[in-house]
Symmetry: C3
Subunit: 418 residues, 3 copies
Amino acid sequence: MLTREENEFLCRTDKGTPMGEFCRRFWTPVLLSEEIPEPDCPPVQSKIYGEELVVFRTTSGKVGVLKEFCPHRRASLFYGRNEEEGLRCAYHGWKFDIEGNCTDMMSEPADSNFAGKVKILAYPAQEAGGFVWAYMGPPELQPPMPQLEYLTVPENQRKTNKVLYESNFVQVIEGEIDTVHASILHSRLDALEKSATATTLAGRYSYRDIAARFHVEDTEGGILIGAKRNAEEDSSYWRISRWLFPWVTMIPREPHGSCRSGLIVPIDDENCWFYLCRWNPYGPLDEEWNEAPRSGMVPGTWLGKANSTNHYLIDRQAQKTETFSGIPSAMGRAQDAAMTDSMGRIVDRTEEHLGTTDTAIIRMRRRLIMGARELEDGIEPYAASHPEVFKVRSGGALLPREVYFKDDPVVWDDITVA
Amino acid sequence: MLTREENEFLCRTDKGTPMGEFCRRFWTPVLLSEEIPEPDCPPVQSKIYGEELVVFRTTSGKVGVLKEFCPHRRASLFYGRNEEEGLRCAYHGWKFDIEGNCTDMMSEPADSNFAGKVKILAYPAQEAGGFVWAYMGPPELQPPMPQLEYLTVPENQRKTNKVLYESNFVQVIEGEIDTVHASILHSRLDALEKSATATTLAGRYSYRDIAARFHVEDTEGGILIGAKRNAEEDSSYWRISRWLFPWVTMIPREPHGSCRSGLIVPIDDENCWFYLCRWNPYGPLDEEWNEAPRSGMVPGTWLGKANSTNHYLIDRQAQKTETFSGIPSAMGRAQDAAMTDSMGRIVDRTEEHLGTTDTAIIRMRRRLIMGARELEDGIEPYAASHPEVFKVRSGGALLPREVYFKDDPVVWDDITVA
Amino acid sequence: MLTREENEFLCRTDKGTPMGEFCRRFWTPVLLSEEIPEPDCPPVQSKIYGEELVVFRTTSGKVGVLKEFCPHRRASLFYGRNEEEGLRCAYHGWKFDIEGNCTDMMSEPADSNFAGKVKILAYPAQEAGGFVWAYMGPPELQPPMPQLEYLTVPENQRKTNKVLYESNFVQVIEGEIDTVHASILHSRLDALEKSATATTLAGRYSYRDIAARFHVEDTEGGILIGAKRNAEEDSSYWRISRWLFPWVTMIPREPHGSCRSGLIVPIDDENCWFYLCRWNPYGPLDEEWNEAPRSGMVPGTWLGKANSTNHYLIDRQAQKTETFSGIPSAMGRAQDAAMTDSMGRIVDRTEEHLGTTDTAIIRMRRRLIMGARELEDGIEPYAASHPEVFKVRSGGALLPREVYFKDDPVVWDDITVA
C-alpha cells in the first residue's frame, strides 16, 4: 500500500516531476529502428514522458529526435520534409539538423541572420539493439549507454517488438516482475496435468507449487529476484528475474535459454510503450514471438487486436474449458494488458493488499522512489553513470533444496554477462 | 427554478454526497436478472451511483454484487472466473464469495492466513421482479424490499426491460411524471381528429384539453398526481401517476388496465438506467412492448438505435406530416431521450421557467431535497423502512365533473394494492 | 511572442471575455443561407463564441437565431417544429418567434398569461451574401452591416463555402494573412522551373524571391498588407492582402481578378468555422473552387476528407516528388489545416519565434488586443459603427521598383470599392 502522495510521486513523469527527472537521467527508447527504416524516410511522432517528439533518419542515416513543434509558429514537424541532412517544416520551410540548429530559413531574406539565432530543442539520439534511444536529461550529465547484452548481440540473435498499454508504466513493470501470475493468469486449465510430460522447467514445475517464496536482493542496477518452488522431492525450481533502473525488466527463462527483456517507457502518465527484445546470447534466434506477433496487432498501429474496446476478446467458453483467463495470448499481450489496464489508468495503490509474492514489487517501488528522492537531494543515480550494472540476464534453475540460487556458479554464470 | 446549489444537491449521487447517501438507503436495481441468466455465467459490470461493481450468479444460483476491483492489486473482476460459489480474479486467482470473503488465495503459501484478513466490498443482493437488487447503504440499516406489486406477481404477468439515458436521473424522472407532454411530444398530428373513435380513455380525451389541471398530494411513499382534463360535457378525464422514493415512477394507465413502472437509477451523475416493468395485476400479460422493443436497441447494448449520435433518427418529413416530433417511438424511448438528453448531461435549472403543469415536478424535487436534508440531520427516510408504502399503482378514470379522483372508491381500489 | 496572459486574452471569446465582447460588437455569420434553404425547413444548430444557438427560416422566409434551449425545461429546440412563423419545442409545444416572444403555450390553460412573461434569448439576424448573420452584442449598440463588397454583388458573381477547423480562430487568421507560406506550403516542387511560362503574376513571381518584404499599414477597418518581391530587373511583384475587424481576411489576387475573403468565426475557443466567399466584382463568376470543393468534404459535414484523424492524407511519396507538403489541396483546405491544427487547439505563443515575414501577424494581434482593451475602457470599436471601412479588396500588382503599391492609382482603384 502506498499513500496517495507516494503513488503520485511514483507514477508521474512529466517534465519537472521528481520521477520524470529521474527517468530522464537514463537513455530512453523512443522508437523501433524499423519505424524509420531508411535515410530521409517519413518522420514519426513519439510522445515520451509527456513530451511530444518527432523522430527522423537523415540522409546519411543518423537518427534525430526533436521537439515536435517548429519554433517559428509551432506547426508540427511531423508534416515536415525530411531531406538533405535535416527536417524542414512544411509551413515556411525552416530546416533543422539533428542537433537542433536551423540550417535554412527560406521565408526570411537571404541576408538575414535570424536562422543563426533560432534553435529547436534536440535530444541526443543513437541506435542500439533495434531501438532508437534519446537522452532527455541535462546535457552535461549525458551518460554512456547501458550495457544491456541485447544491444550488442549480432542482429540474427535478437528480435524486437512494441505494444501499447493504456495505463501507467509502473503497474506494467509490476506485472513483469510478478512471476507468480504466470502460473495463474497465463495458464491452461490442464497445465498441472500436462506438467508431468513437460520438457521445460517452467512447464514441469510452475504448476505444482504456485505460491513461490520470494528472495529479492538489491543490486546496483536494480533488483535480482529469485522465486523458489518445490520441484522434486529433493530439488527446488528457481525462477530468476530482474528489474533494472528505471523501467527495464527481464522475466525468468530456461537455463541457458533465450532471453527476453522489456523496456516499459512512459508515453505520458496514462499510457506506456512496452518495447520488447528477445535474444539468444549464444547463437542465432530462431524462435517465433508468441506474445505479441505482428499479425495480432490492429493494422497500422501497435495496439493489440484484443484491447479494452473489445474486452480483450475474452472468450467465456474458453475460460470455462481451456485457459484460466479465456483471453487470447497472441493478440498484443492481451492477458497482461487486461489486468494492468483494467486497474484504471493509474492504479489506486491506497486500496491494494499486497501479499508475500508481491515482495519484488514492493522493493522495486522503494528503489524507484528512493532514487527520485535522492535526485531531489542532488544525488545522481548510480546506475545511469555505471553502464556495466546492466550486464545481466534473468534465469531459471533446478537446484538441490538447500542451495541458494546465487550460490550456484553455473546459475550465476548464466545470469551474468561476462 | 432552482439555485445552482440546490441543483447540485439534487443531482449528485456519488458516495458521500447527501443525495447519494439518501438513495443508498433504498434497495437499488443493478441489472436485469436475464443479464446473468444461469449459474456460473460470465460476470457483468454495472456502475451505480458512480461506483463500479461486478455482478455475478453463483453455482447455487445466488446473486453477488462486489466492488469491481480485486483488493489485491486492483485488476477488474469482470475478467474473473465465476466458479464454485465464488468469483476468482484472473490475475492471481484470489476468490471471493458473495459476502466478500476471500475463500481462496492460490498465490500465497498454503499455510498463510492472509486470505482471512482480506475482504472485498460486497453489497447485499437479491432478485425480485426480474431485477437484481443491491443494498448499498450502511449494513446496520438494511431495509426490507419495497412491496412494489410487480416484484411479486407471477412471471407471466410481467415483462422487464432497460434503456440507457445519457443524462442525469432527475431530469428523466421529471419526464416520467410530466403527463402533459404525452399529449404533445408523443402525439400524432391526427390525434385530435381520431380521438372521436378512440377506444381508450387516453386516446379519446388526451387531445381535446391538453393543459390539464394538476392535483398533487404527498404520500408517505412519494407523491400521488392527478391531472384533470375536461372530457364530455359533464365528465372529467383523470390521468393518475405516481412518484415513489427515490426514483420509482408509475405513469397513467387505463382503468384496471396493465401497469408500467420505471426505476430510474443513476449510473453516475451524467448517465442513468431506465429499468422498466410492465405488468398486469389481474392475469397474464400478453401485450407487446411498444416503447423500447429489444429489436430497437443497438445490438449488444441497451442503447436505443435512435440516440444522440444520430439525432434520434429524427425524420423531418414525418415531423411535418405524421407525428409531432418526427422521432421514431420504438427505438429505445427515443422521443423522451431526445428531450431529456438534449438538455445537457445535468440540466441547468437556474434557467428554467416552470408552469402550472410542472407542479408534480416541483413537488418531487422538494421531497427528494427534503429527504436528503433530513438524512443529513440524522432522520432516516420513512419510506425505506416502510415497504408497504410502495403498494400502489397509477391509474386513469372518467369521472363526473365534481368528483375528486381520490374520492371515487373504484378508482381508489384500482390505484392501491390490497 | 506573447505572454501567456496576452495569448489567453487574444484567443478566448466566451460570453464575458474581453475578446468575446469585442467580437460580439460585429455582425457575425452563423450559417450559410443554403443550410436553411426554404421556409419552415428544419432548424440547424450553430455554436458561435461558445454559445449554443438554433437557426431557422420562418414561413415568410425570415431567419431567426435563438438560444438552443427552450426556456421551459431546456429541451433543445433543434428537435423543434418549424411552423407558421415560429419554432415550437417538441416537448410541450411552446412556440417562439424570431424576436424570442413565446407566441403559443399549448401546455398551459388557455386563460393563462404565462406565455406573455416568457422570452427566449433571440439575436437579431439577417441574410447577406449567402450567409446568415447574427448580432450578439448589446441591443442598443446594434451596428449596420459591414459594407463588404461580396454581400451586395449579384448572386451569379459570388460563391460561398464553409470548412471546419479544429483550432482557435486567431491562428487560422494568422495563416490567412501570412502570404509567404503560399510560396512554400502550397507550392509544387517544380514551381520555380515552371514560373518562366506562368500566365499569372503569382505563378510567375512567387517562387523566385520567396522572402517578401512586408509593408503593413493600419487602416480604420484593420490592416493593409503589401508584400514586395523582386520580379524582373526593374520591377517588383506586390501581393496585397487585408485583415479587417475582427476576423475578416482577403488574400492576394491577380490585378482586377476575382476576389476571395474569409470569415473566420469562433465556434468555441478550440474550433472555428472558415466561411469563404469568392466573388468577381466585375461580372459573372465562372471559376471552380479549388480550395475546398464540396466533393472533398466528409459527406453530411463541413469537415474535409483530409483531416486530423488521417494525418490530412499526407502522401509521403508525393511530398518527395511532386508537392512541398504531400497533402492534397482539394480536401477541405487540408494543407492549411494541417499546419494550423497541428499547433494544438490554442497555439502556445510564448514559445514562438517570429521573423520579418510575420510583421502582419504581429500587427493584427496588436490591433485585436488593443481593440478589446479599449472596449474594456468603454471605447466602442470604430469599425463596427463605420460599415464603409469594409469597402475594400485585396490585390496584386507588377510595379516599377521604386513605386510603393499604394501610390499607384490603378492599384489603389483595384483594392478599393467605389
